[in-house]
């Protein structure tokens, strides 16, 4: 049976047990005139959970784990003389075997690879049979245990609630596991990258040129031609973000002020959702808009002014990214400005100041921490934004502060390096993980500072 069929069968077994146990609990209740500890459906729930949980847990382990086991077993087929060969690469050997297994093999492979692939195919069949038998019998057994427990003294409600609480707690751990997964996957590969490329070159090098492949096989020490200085990428990211913020901060902030202080409720009710529509547009759409509409427009404008504009300029990407982050700034600032107590405004009016004097000298200073936080969050959004820069900013790693030049960004490089087939071992692939690590550090840092600013400088009015 396939995994999905097994999963469905387990579900079915659990439901059957639910019905059996509930009805047997009902009969029991009638025969002992209602002195069961829990309501009858809890006996059913208990049996169903006993059938489902262990069986599903095992199913997931088997489904995910079999490939890992097969992989390590298949290495036994590689003869020792091949393994000791200095040119031997375990990952390539595994790929050879896997291609044979999935039938996507082109070219001639050594005999041991064929032997391993044949064994692998046998294992797949055995493992599928084993999974079916073991999981289904576990479900039947667990459910039977639940059925066995149907008696007046069994506190099935407490048992079910205990299981449910642990399930709820377990799901809240998923968030932590995700973080650990991100940190490990990035940090581990980054360390491998830093064994190949010195960290000082990565942080302070002025040229980014990972394109020379082949000469950089891991451990061969032939690093001659590729250079991994990330300064141009960070400069590019900064340039695009600055352009974006120059658009988004004034527009977003003044919209927020107008919407919260001047606009009528009706105007607000219309304009606010429209601005939030900008936040709902997928980034790939912005990228398409930037590449096809804005970039040619910027270029022709520049040419008519006698400026030399690259066809994929930082200006075009930044402009469109600015449009994208307007709603982040406007809606966060709007919330903060509205949170300033009315009493402050009224006190200022009572002293004779006009509305704009009140806003500039009373409301904005009071709201400043929140506004700063919203701008920082927008920066972190801009730095992490990917599709717009991939589609509109180009891939040329120029070290330039001129927004009319083509630049590239950290995210754009990560995407170009990691899209498509790549070897996990090459310095080029690993460099993407190092870039991702710095990206995470920067965005989390900005986030942390933003939260800190809000916490520390927030005025407590009530």
């Amino acid at each position: 049976m396939t995994t999905i069929q097994i999963a469905a069968s387990i579900l079915f077994i659990g439901l059957i047990y639910f019905i059996i146990c509930q009805s047997s609990a009902r009969h029991l209740q009638v025969s002992i005139s209602g002195r069961l500890h829990s309501r009858t459906q809890y006996y059913g729930f208990f049996a169903a959970l006993m059938a489902w949980l262990p069986a599903y847990a095992l199913l997931i382990v088997m489904a995910v784990g079999d490939d890992i086991v097969f992989q390590s077993l298949s290495l036994n087929f590689i003869p020792d003389e091949v393994q000791t060969d200095p040119d031997f690469n375990e990952i390539i050997a595994q790929a050879q075997i896997k291609n044979l297994v999935s039938g996507t093999n082109f070219g001639k492979q050594p005999d041991w690879a064929h032997a391993a692939a044949d064994a692998w195919q046998r294992w797949i069949v055995t493992s599928a049979r084993l999974t079916t038998v073991v999981c289904l019998s576990l479900a039947l057994l667990g459910g039977f245990l639940g059925y066995y427990k149907v008696n007046p003294n069994f506190r099935s409600r407490n048992a079910v609630e205990g299981i449910v609480i642990s399930l709820l707690a377990a799901s809240s751990v998923i968030a932590i596991l995700t973080t650990i997964g991100i940190v490990f996957s990035v940090v581990f590969e980054s360390f491998r990258f830093f064994t190949l490329v010195p960290i000082s070159e990565f942080l302070f090098g002025l040229t980014w040129n990972p394109q020379f492949e082949g000469a950089e096989r891991a451990g061969s020490g032939q690093m001659g031609l590729s250079t991994y200085g990330s300064v141009p990428l960070f400069a590019g990211t900064m340039l695009v973000s600055i352009v974006a913020l120059t658009v988004a901060v004034p527009v977003g902030l003044f919209s927020a002020i107008y919407l919260s202080e001047y606009a009528s409720d009706r105007a607000r009710g219309v304009v606010k959702p429209l601005m939030e529509l900008l936040a709902g547009v997928p980034t790939v759409v912005y990228g398409f808009f930037a590449a096809l509409t804005v970039a040619p427009f910027v270029r022709s404008m520049g040419l008519s002014l006698g400026l030399d504009v690259a066809s994929e300029s930082a200006l075009a990407a930044g402009l469109v990214m600015g449009i994208m982050i307007i709603p982040f700034i406007s809606s966060l600032s709007d919330d903060v400005i509205r949170a300033v107590p009315q009493a402050l405004r009224e006190a200022s009016y009572a002293l004779g100041s006009t509305q704009n004097e009140t806003i500039r000298q009373v409301v904005l200073p009071a709201a400043l921490p929140g506004v700063v936080a919203s701008v920082l969050l927008a920066v972190s959004r801009a730095v992490g934004e990917t599709m717009i820069v991939v589609m509109a900013a180009g891939l040329a790693a120029n070290l330039s502060l001129n927004p009319l030049d083509a630049v590239t960004t950290v995210t754009a490089q990560i995407v170009t390096i990691l899209v498509g087939d790549q070897e996990f071992e090459s310095a080029k692939t690993l460099s993407a993980f190092a870039l991702a690590l710095t990206l995470i550090i920067i965005t989390l840092g900005l986030n942390f500072i933003a939260l800190h600013v809000v916490k520390k400088y927030r005025e407590q009015y009530e």
Binding site: L168, I182, L259, L278, F289, L292, E385, F424, F433
Partner: protein, 434 residues
């Protein structure tokens, strides 16, 4: 001395001074308001330019040019073995049947003329003819007027993107082809109709045949996986953190963690998917299952945060009443709190799903960008999704892809706007204010 001069002026002088400055202050007030209004105008202008430019390019993308020709459906040529199986139809010469009908239509003789005429019709035509006779074998041996898509270059010519005035060697269609097109048009054989390829076609390098069907199914599969994972886990986490968790260090760490995850750039989730699911677990690339899991991890914080807000909005009196009549904590939560918080949770989930539907970058990382012609049948078949399809089409050079991409964007936006509208309606109709 100075102090007294400044602080103690007669009321009359004070009024005059204020009055003198009033004009300037009022002007400043007006300017300030104008600034605010123009900021909103700029933002809305951006929105309008964005939508107008997409729609202006995209609406024509829903249509394309077809040619109607009478085709002699010759059984011997189409179905050489005569058993009407797909193998036999593929062995047959559908292209020849169509071409000879076209040649008859245009009276072409000679090789170079025939080559020019043959280039008018899309390569998808033969496939369409095969499918037609496979579905309805009674058509064999009859003469039918059939409608075939024109090649994308011809389409672009008819739309005016390839100019007649351009010298022949610089344009992708030659003078002979233009002559044939003119004749077909004069006879009313060329029709501009709704593009069925756009909706029902799959990925293709031929722009006139390319469609979103495969990507659409891929999106549905991916979103289903995402929803099945993110919704239960998100809601369970929210319930745990709001109702059950003790206020201690571990809970605090989980909360900080969730907030941090919300700030992680989406591309990083793709790297997680690549390193863990593909690198360590050895799962295949490009499958909607991994796409869904990665998007689920990405949308989890959104769902958790909005579900927590919804649970928090349920007043404590509801819980106390339930506990007061003897319900257990779990019964209180599952029978009373969750039903009341459900509209808020659903709103957050729909918004999270809309985010996931529009997301591209993490899916590029896990290889959903591969060129896949087959429509995925299950979550473990390689596939792609709508935004990635848009990304790939945006890269292709043919002029017709610009319209197709914009049309696909309109479809994607329509889904997103519907989802967001649904979220707003659920919030307005079902949410209770206490």
């Amino acid at each position: 001395m100075n102090d007294t001069a400044k602080g103690l002026v007669s009321p009359k002088i004070a009024t005059e001074r204020v009055a003198a400055s009033m004009a300037k202050r009022k002007k400043r007030e007006r300017n300030f308001q104008r600034l605010g209004r123009s900021a909103i105008a700029v933002a809305l202008a951006f929105l309008i330019v964005l939508f107008v430019s997409i729609f202006a390019k995209g609406i024509p993308g829903f249509f394309q040019y077809y040619v109607e020709i009478g085709v002699e459906i010759d059984r011997e040529k189409l179905d050489p073995t005569g058993d009407l199986t797909l193998q036999s139809l593929y062995a047959g010469d559908a292209r020849g049947v169509i071409r000879s009908s076209l040649y008859a239509e245009l009276d072409v003789e000679g090789r170079s003329d025939k080559r020019a005429a043959g280039k008018l019709i899309s390569q998808g035509a033969e496939q369409r003819l095969r499918k037609l006779v496979y579905d309805d074998p009674s058509l064999m041996g009859t003469k039918q007027t059939l409608r075939f898509a024109l090649d994308d270059d011809v389409d672009s010519f008819l739309r005016g993107f390839i100019k007649r005035e351009t010298p022949e060697k610089d344009r992708r269609i030659n003078d002979k082809m233009i002559d044939y097109i003119d004749r077909l048009q004069a006879e009313g054989k060329i029709v501009y109709a709704f593009s069925d390829y756009l909706i029902f076609g799959s990925a293709s390098r031929n722009p006139e045949m390319a469609g979103i069907y495969g990507a659409f199914i891929g999106s549905i599969l991916t979103l289903t996986v995402c929803l099945l994972i993110a919704f239960p886990i998100g809601v369970a986490t929210a319930i745990y953190l709001e109702e059950i968790a003790p206020k201690n260090r571990i809970t605090e760490i989980i909360e900080i963690n969730i907030n941090n995850l919300a700030a992680v750039p989406s591309v990083v989730f793709g790297i997680l998917g690549l390193a863990v699911f593909i690198g360590i677990f050895g799962m295949p690339r490009s499958i909607p299952l991994i796409g869904g899991v990665v998007l689920a991890l990405m949308t989890l914080p959104t769902i958790i945060i909005s579900s927590r807000a919804a649970i928090r909005a349920v007043p404590p009196s509801v819980r106390e009443a339930a506990l007061g009549v003897g319900a257990s904590q779990m019964q209180t939560i599952f029978h009373h709190v969750i039903p009341l918080a459900m509209p808020g949770m659903l709103t957050g989930t729909i918004i999270g799903m809309a985010q996931a539907l529009g997301e591209t970058a993490p899916l590029l990382m896990i290889g959903m960008v591969a060129f896949i012609v087959d429509v995925p049948g299950s979550v473990t078949d390689p596939g792609t999704v709508l935004p990635v399809q848009i990304f790939m089409w945006a890269d292709f050079a043919e002029r017709m892809f610009v319209q197709k991409t914009s049309a696909a964007i309109i479809i994607l936006l329509a889904f997103l706007i519907t989802m967001n509208a649904a979220a707003i309606i659920i919030r307005k109709k079902l949410e209770r204010r206490w």
